[in-house]
């Protein structure tokens, strides 16, 4: 419980040295945390074969320590931009610029998909070991990292279980543990909780925030839920429907840690209203 405070103070100290905050093209409600820039999505467009324009002139800046949500209707290109950031796909136009470059294949990016995407033939700990294993590291030498990751997601004692013995929420926790085990520069999450029931989703939302406070990672979180994005993030980028681009950004200036009290607070509802309106505008303007 003390940890979050420590992390926060560290974060607030950091940016003082570098206050060249992002110069976004987007006008609305952007808060300037003066954080260190991590990566910029610079006028990115993506045209698939058969002429499907998924993204057009997309602008987005992600700063160190951000919890940034990408909110938009389904089919607007959220997964596409995530895949490009992960290096699985090249933009048709524009560039994705990493501050200080990104070492590919070094576990510098963690990914969580909508499905847990575990290897069913491997135990929980072996699934978490995967990124290290692909770097040629033995399980024994990574023992601490693996156990620490499992501890962070609350899965102590499940190291030897097979995925099929776990519930949907627990499988998702394993996927999160795997994503954060390598201490990546950014964790990309593509609607990770969309397939879970609401009770499990709320619990995972809370735990995700707690976890982020502990390790101070940067998260880019894709969702189509207004409520989830407001509860979790400090910035929400609202996207237009296809071709997708960032329509507006909303800063959720509410302190962490957030919990059930925030979920029922008046400011939460007002943020939800603002965000809903922005989403509605983004869709109606695109049509």
């Amino acid at each position: 419980m003390d940890d979050p405070l420590v992390v926060h103070s560290r974060l607030s100290v950091l940016p003082l040295s570098l206050s060249l905050s992002s110069i976004d093209g987007t006008p609305t409600l952007v808060d300037t945390h003066n954080q260190e820039k991590l990566l910029a999505v610079n006028s990115v467009g993506k045209v698939f074969s058969k002429g499907v324009v998924a993204l057009e002139d997309m602008q987005l800046t992600i700063n160190e320590g951000d919890f940034l949500s990408l909110l938009g209707p389904s089919g607007c290109g959220k997964s596409t931009i995530l895949r490009m950031i992960a290096g699985l796909m090249e933009p048709t136009t524009g560039r994705i610029e990493w501050e200080g470059g990104v070492e590919q294949s070094n576990g510098s990016i963690g990914v969580v998909f909508q499905e847990p995407t575990l290897m069913p033939w491997a135990t929980v700990e072996k699934n978490v070991w995967l990124p290290f294993r692909l770097q040629g590291k033995t399980m024994r030498s990574m023992r601490n990292e693996i156990d620490e990751a499992l501890h962070l997601v609350g899965l102590d004692g499940f190291a030897g279980s097979y995925p099929r013995a776990l519930s949907g929420g627990m499988k998702m926790r394993v996927a999160i543990a795997r994503a954060l085990a390598t201490s990546p520069r950014v964790i990309l999450m593509d609607e990770p909780f969309a397939a879970l029931d609401e009770i499990t989703r709320f619990k995972l939302n809370n735990d995700l925030l707690e976890l982020k406070a502990k390790i101070g990672c940067t998260i880019l979180f894709v969702t189509h839920s207004v409520f989830e994005s407001v509860f979790l993030s400090d910035r929400i980028a609202v996207m237009t429907s296809r071709p997708g681009r960032v329509h507006s950004e909303i800063a959720v200036n509410e302190p962490y840690p957030r919990n059930e009290t925030f979920r029922t607070s008046a400011s939460y509802s007002s943020y939800c209203r603002t965000t809903s309106e922005a989403l509605e505008n983004s869709i109606s303007e695109a049509v």
Binding site: R83, W121, Y162
Partner: protein, 291 residues
């Protein structure tokens, strides 16, 4: 609310009684099914043996036309030495063929997934080999292959390798696309992807192919023996049947047939057990068996 009301009106007792009854019925049904699974086939076997025996006795059929089950059994016992030697030969060829089929089938499948060019050039011929009846290829093989053992192996292999090849290829190509992306993000090499993703994914498919191939390699070995005749390496079960046929030793034909069938069952069961042991921890197919 409704629960409370039923409890107050005493409905809960009736309900729990019914539940207990239901549970008891279910258990009995399950026990019946468990026993029936073994008892019923055994009953059918006994009945048909008895019927077979009666037909022979009532019609006074001489045993060089149709031996009764008792006669087959005594032949099995008295000829055991000879039959056992034949079994060893057939079994050895079957196992060797299965081994070569595993290596050849799985190896080709791996090559196919590594090189699309390779697959495009060779796959059609694998299909041609598979669909041409072995009985029509075998005589040719024995013309050109001097070594009898090698000829038998080739025949059995041709019959057995295809299910392994096609199943394993399917398995290697069935990897989860998100896992594939994950491997790419973590910079996995081709080799790492093969070993840590494709091979484990393909394992259940491969094992399915293996079970089919086990039976097929026995068929291949038997057919090849029929074609090859004797000489060189001694005679297996199929040749024993042929030879006994020439001598009108019908009981021995039946005894040898029985052993071949038994061998087939043995191979299938063994492979099923191996498959179960390898998959029981994680695969859906094994999960169902456990319950």
């Amino acid at each position: 609310m409704t629960f409370v009301q039923t409890r107050m009106s005493g409905g809960i007792d009736d309900a729990s009684l019914a539940a207990v009854n239901e549970e008891r019925k279910r258990l009995m049904r399950r026990r019946f099914e468990k026993i029936g699974k073994w008892l019923l086939p055994a009953l059918v076997l006994l009945l048909s043996l008895w019927f077979w025996d009666r037909i022979v006795v009532w019609n006074e059929i001489p045993h060089y036309i149709l031996p009764g089950p008792g006669k087959v059994w005594t032949t099995l016992v008295t000829d055991w030495g000879l039959l056992y030697d034949a079994l060893k030969i057939t079994f050895r060829i079957t196992m060797l063929a299965l081994l070569v089929a595993v290596i050849g089938g799985a190896g080709l499948a791996i090559l196919f997934t590594q090189s699309r060019l390779f697959e495009m050039s060779l796959f059609p011929y694998a299909v041609v080999l598979q669909v041409t009846p072995i009985i029509s290829i075998a005589p040719l093989i024995f013309i050109y292959v001097e070594n009898k053992l090698a000829g038998l192996l080739i025949c059995a292999w041709i019959v057995a390798f295809f299910p392994i090849l096609s199943n394993t290829t399917l398995g290697l190509n069935s990897t989860d696309h998100n896992l594939r992306d994950l491997f790419r993000i973590y910079g996995a090499t081709r080799w790492q992807r093969l070993v840590h993703l494709q091979l484990p994914t393909a394992l259940p498919y491969f094992l399915g192919g293996l079970r089919i191939a086990g039976g097929l390699s026995l068929i291949g070995a038997v057919v090849a023996e029929y074609v090859a005749g004797t000489g060189g390496i001694g005679s297996g079960l199929a040749f024993t049947i042929l030879e006994a046929g020439y001598r009108l030793n019908i009981p021995r034909m039946f005894a040898a047939l029985l052993i071949i069938a038994g061998t087939g069952v043995f191979i299938f069961l063994t492979l099923s057990i191996i498959s179960h042991l390898l998959l029981r921890k994680w695969h859906e197919s094994a999960l169902k068996q456990e319950q």
